[in-house]
Structures are given as structure tokens and as C-alpha cells.
């Protein structure tokens, strides 16, 4: 409880900070007034229509990735599972890119997160078919590598086939993720699906605990494993799908934060969910503040930072898990 409170405070602080960081040089007082709609209408526009949705999305998407990572690890019973590593984000990006390039999105905005959700769903099902549940780390990672590279190649293919010559520039956005210049439109298309995913996972948290002992034991403990599996697959697909649809692929967040927080919360998957969501929200907020401070005006991609932070942790975990597979 204390941990949750601390993380929530951190998120609140970083959200506030995020509202005051940007490329434009606006005085602090003017910025504050602008959030209440007073002052230069252009400043109001920037604060309310650019910085506010950006901060909101950072928090939402971070939380979604942390939640999805923690749930996926519990589900696959492997601490290395993460939407980015097992290829779910890449497939979500593929769905989103197809939705954008075919122009469906122009007719029906919800098509963006829904197609991304569809992509994410396909990847989870493919992962289960390839690696199975409770998969050994090597199998899981190999399957993830295969799925990720297939999806990344297809994303590039779709963008290369696009009649729009600028589309190819988008590959970096989809592969590395960014929150630059997002709007409330993005919040509104992502939010319903993020909430649905979070609800599905939240409802399966007790089952997730039982699943720690394997599916048979979970079933004997009164868990409807088949329904649980469905809820978790759909839930993680909703979360990583909607997050990727609006922010691109931001890797390693769902891996690093649950891994670090597990030392504090203990191993019970249900107890990890909320802290992981808050911690990841804080991480994305901080990273998004950092990209604006480190290289202002250059649109440094968010995923670059998270990958730089995440890779060492990931390598450490791979190193540690080597013994277990033999």
C-alpha cells in the first residue's frame, strides 16, 4: 500500500512536471494560467491541446505497458515476457500501419486501436502455438524474435508500398515510439480499449496467482483456466494494441519495471499489477520529459531511451536464467 502511494505520488509529480516542459519558452506563471484557459490564446492552445494530451498519454501508455508486462509474465510464467520482446507490440504496430495506410482510419477512427488490437491478438496466439505456456526462456525468446522480425518486416513492407513517399520515414516512429504532437483524439481512441484491457486483467488477478503453480494446480484451486487464459490474452492484446496504435513500439518498459518492483512486492502476480502500472507510467512520463530536455526540437524517440535503459536489465535477466534451461 505504501509502495502504491509512493508510486502514485511520483506519477502525479511527473505529470505536473511534464505539463511544464516543452520546446516553447513560456514563463511559468503564464503556463499555469494557460491551463485554466487564461492569457494568450495561442499559449492556451499549446498547453491544453498539446501538452495536456501528451502528459495524459504518457501516463496511460506507460501504465498500460506495465500492466500488460506484469500480466503477460504471470500468464506465461516467465519474467522475460514483455509485449515488446515477444512480438506483440510489433504486430500491434503492423495492425495500426495497415489501418492507416488503407485509409480505414479516415472513415472510422476506432479502426486504429482495433486493428492494432487484432494484430496483438494474432501475435499472442502465435506465441502460444510456438512456445506454449510456461515455456522455457529460450523458446519464448526465439519465438519472440521470429514474431518481432516478421512483423517489423511487414510494417516496413506496408510503408514501402505506400504511395506516400514520406511513409517510409514513419518506420522509425513505429519501431521506436514517440508521444510528440499527439492530441486528445488519440487519447479518446485509445482510452476505451485500454480500460477494457485493464479491466479484463484486473478481474483475472486472483487466477494469475493460482497460475503461478501451473495450470493444473490453478484449475484444482477453482480457477476456470480456459476463461482466465482468454481474459489474459484479450487483456494484454487490448493494452499493448491500443498503446502501440497511438505511441508506436516502446520496448522494455513492461519488462524492466515489473522486474524491479517484484523485489519489493514479492512474487505474487496480483500484488505486482498496480505497482507495475504506476511505475511504468512514471517511467514513460520521465522518459518523455527527458527526450524533450536532452534534444529539444529533434523528436528523440521514446523507445530509444527505454531500450537504452532496458537492455542492460534484460541482458542481466537472460544471464541469470541461463542455468534454468539446461
Amino acid at each position: 500500500m505504501k509502495l502504491i502511494l509512493a508510486l502514485a505520488t511520483l506519477c502525479a509529480g511527473l505529470t505536473l512536471m511534464s505539463l511544464f516542459v516543452g520546446s516553447g519558452n513560456v514563463a511559468l506563471r503564464e503556463t499555469i494560467w494557460a491551463y485554466f484557459g487564461a492569457g494568450d490564446p495561442l499559449v492556451v492552445l499549446v498547453m491544453q491541446e498539446l501538452r495536456l494530451p501528451r502528459a495524459a498519454l504518457a501516463l496511460l501508455i506507460g501504465a498500460a505497458l506495465g500492466f500488460a508486462g506484469a500480466a503477460m509474465q504471470g500468464f506465461l510464467r516467465n519474467p522475460l515476457a514483455d509485449p515488446g520482446i515477444v512480438g506483440t507490440s510489433a504486430f500491434a504496430a503492423l495492425g495500426a500501419v495497415i489501418a492507416l495506410q488503407t485509409g480505414i482510419v479516415a472513415l472510422f477512427p476506432m479502426a486504429l486501436p482495433l486493428m492494432a488490437l487484432g494484430g496483438a491478438l494474432i501475435s499472442v496466439l502465435a506465441l502460444l502455438a510456438l512456445a506454449g505456456r510456461g515455456a522455457r526462456t529460450t523458446t519464448l525468446i526465439l519465438s519472440g524474435v521470429a514474431l518481432s522480425s516478421a512483423a517489423a518486416a511487414l510494417v516496413s513492407l506496408v510503408l514501402n508500398l505506400s504511395p506516400n513517399p514520406f511513409a517510409a520515414n514513419e518506420i522509425t516512429f513505429w519501431m521506436m515510439g514517440s508521444l510528440a504532437d499527439r492530441s486528445f483524439r488519440h487519447v479518446s481512441v485509445a482510452l476505451p480499449i485500454l480500460l477494457l484491457g485493464a479491466m479484463l486483467i484486473w478481474r483475472s488477478r486472483k487466477g494469475l496467482d493460482a497460475l503461478s503453480f501451473g495450470e493444473e494446480t490453478a484449475l484444482s484451486m477453482g480457477v476456470n483456466v480456459r476463461r482466465l487464459r482468454l481474459q489474459l490474452i484479450l487483456g494484454t492484446a487490448c493494452l499493448s494494441g491500443a498503446a502501440t496504435a497511438v505511441a508506436g513500439m516502446i520496448g522494455f518498459v513492461g519488462l524492466v519495471i515489473p522486474h524491479l518492483l517484484r523485489r519489493v512486492t514479492g512474487g505474487m502476480p496480483s500484488r505486482l499489477l498496480l505497482p507495475a502500472a504506476l511505475g511504468s507510467g512514471a517511467l514513460i512520463l520521465a522518459a518523455d520529459i527527458a527526450v524533450r530536455i536532452i534534444l529539444p526540437g529533434r523528436d528523440l524517440k521514446l523507445g530509444v531511451l527505454t531500450a537504452l535503459l532496458g537492455t542492460p536489465v534484460f541482458l542481466h535477466m537472460v544471464w541469470k536464467s541461463r542455468g534454468r534451461d539446461t
Binding site: 516543452g22 520546446s23 516553447g24 513560456v26 490564446p41 495561442l42 499559449v43 492552445l45 499549446v46 491541446e49 498539446l50 501538452r51 492507416l100 495506410q101 485509409g103 482510419v105 479516415a106 505506400s162 504511395p163 506516400n164 513517399p165 514520406f166 511513409a167 520515414n169 514513419e170 516512429f173 513505429w174 510528440a180 504532437d181 492530441s183 486528445f184 483524439r185 529539444p296 526540437g297 529533434r298 523528436d299
Partner: protein, 279 residues
């Protein structure tokens, strides 16, 4: 050190020799959107046999209709070799490997620098004239262009026009030392990018664009395929900024490559900004 100097001198001589070929080329293939257009403007009938596929795309080529009269290529070495050209026209940023390969195969490749200013157009026009053996035509076209350019610059110097921001897809802008910047300035507008310290082609954050309170916003022309990079051109905050009385315009294919046609885009830009037309 000395060896290197000798080599460099040799290369320079070879380059100079290829630039001044005795007989004009008979089978010319262009593999770059910008050389396509200069070549179509200057080549003698039958001299140019193929242009790049982009030349036919009205969204990036100012001469898409003319390009229908030529075969197209996709800039692949093999494809170009089969056309048996005696001169290949390439841009500085045409894939290096392809150009090397063609040169190794013994084809004469004339490489053009991209036009970063309106003055570069004249340089490239004259280079194209020499390459095609059409010096007189090039000379005449350059002279004509120079006259228009002078009167445009005179008019531009008269009084400072509206402050203008250029916003391409993915948030790119026309920074100082870019063709877009020269187009905007010559049209009599003040480009805000240099003031914001943006170089040749910097990224203009939407936030900075809105806070700049520019009098005029020129957006990148939209392609049909809906995409994320163009989504930014329709950001609700930008739409709201533009809803206020503010001048707007869109870029045109003439902005992509510097050719004599670019000058007509400048005239149009003046009109969009409400500046009085030149005769």
C-alpha cells in the same frame, strides 16, 4: 600525401573530360526526380529515353504530364544497363552503390547537386545544358529565369511580408539554406525557421509553430494515403490555430526540385499571401 594529390588531380581531370564530351549523348537516362525535370526541359527530341518513375507522380513531380511521354525506370543498375544509355543523369543522393556500379560497368554518369537555393537552379541548368550538348537552350532559359528572379527579389526587398512558417509532414520545416526557405523569402515572406535557429531542414515542434504566432502557415501538400506523418498536418491544435484569421497555403511539387518552374510557384505564393502580382 603526394600520391593522394596526384590521384585527386587525376579524378578532377577525368571529371572535367566527361563533362565536356565531344559528341552530344544520344540515349540519355535520368534516374532522379530533379534531373528528370531539367532533362525534360532541355533535351532535344528523342535524346532522353527514360525518366524515373517518380517523374510521373503528380504529387511530387511538376512535370508529371510531360513524363507520360517517356519510358520510366526505378533507378536499378540492371534496369538502366539494359537501356544501353550513353549518358546517365543522377542526383547527389541517388544510391551511391548504383552509381558506382554503373560507372564500373563503363557508363558515363553525370551527377547533379541538389538545388538548395534558387541560384543553384541556374548552375544545374547550365550543367545539364553542357551534359546534353544543349548549351544555348540552357543559357537562354537561365537568362530568362534570372530576369524574373531579379524582379521577384526587388519586390521582396520592398517591404517585409508576413511572417511565415513552413510545416511539412512529420514536422519538418524549411530551415535556412533550404530551397523552401529561398522560395518563401523570394516570395516576399519572412520565414520563421531561421529565427528559431533551425538549419537546413530541422524539425519544427508543433508547440513552437503555434507559439510562433506566424501570420501565414504553409503546409506540406497532402498525399492521398492517410498516414501518421501527415496526421500531424491535421492536428486539432493546428487546425484551431489556423481557424483564426491567418493566411494558409500548401506546398507544391515545384518546391521539391528546383527548376525554372519553381518561379511560378513563387508567383502563386505571393498571390496566396495577398501581395500584389508582378507583371
Amino acid at each position: 600525401m603526394r600520391l593522394r594529390a596526384v590521384l585527386l588531380a587525376g579524378l578532377w581531370l577525368a571529371g572535367a573530360a566527361s563533362g565536356a564530351a565531344a559528341d552530344p549523348a544520344q540515349r540519355v537516362v535520368s534516374m532522379n526526380l530533379c534531373t528528370d525535370q531539367l532533362a525534360m526541359l532541355l533535351a532535344a527530341p528523342g535524346q532522353l529515353i527514360s525518366v524515373s518513375y517518380l517523374a510521373r507522380d503528380a504529387r511530387s513531380s511538376a512535370m508529371a504530364e510531360v513524363a507520360q511521354n517517356f519510358d520510366i525506370n526505378h533507378g536499378l543498375a540492371e534496369e538502366i544497363a539494359f537501356l544501353r544509355p550513353d549518358l546517365v543523369l543522377a542526383g547527389r543522393y541517388t544510391t551511391r552503390v548504383t552509381v558506382d556500379m554503373l560507372q564500373r560497368l563503363g557508363y558515363r554518369v553525370e551527377v547533379f547537386q541538389p538545388e538548395n537555393t534558387l541560384d543553384d537552379i541556374r548552375t544545374n541548368l547550365l550543367q545539364m545544358g553542357r551534359a546534353l550538348g544543349r548549351e544555348a537552350e540552357a543559357e537562354r532559359m537561365a537568362e530568362e529565369m534570372q530576369q524574373t528572379l531579379l524582379s521577384l527579389r526587388e519586390a521582396a526587398d520592398d517591404k517585409p511580408g508576413p511572417e511565415t512558417a513552413v510545416y511539412y509532414s512529420s514536422g519538418y520545416t524549411a530551415g535556412a539554406r533550404s530551397l523552401g526557405h529561398d522560395i518563401v523569402t523570394t516570395a516576399g515572406l519572412q520565414n520563421i525557421a531561421p529565427k528559431l535557429g533551425l538549419g537546413a531542414s530541422g524539425i519544427l515542434p508543433l508547440e513552437a509553430l503555434i507559439l510562433s504566432d506566424a501570420d501565414m502557415v504553409i503546409r506540406g501538400a497532402s498525399y492521398q494515403g492517410y498516414s501518421r506523418s501527415e496526421e500531424m498536418l491535421r492536428h486539432p491544435a493546428l487546425e484551431r490555430m489556423l481557424a483564426a484569421p491567418r493566411l494558409t497555403a500548401e506546398t507544391r511539387p515545384e518546391w521539391t526540385c528546383g527548376t525554372p518552374l519553381t518561379l511560378s510557384a513563387i508567383h502563386d505564393l505571393r498571390a496566396a499571401a495577398g501581395l500584389e502580382p508582378l507583371e
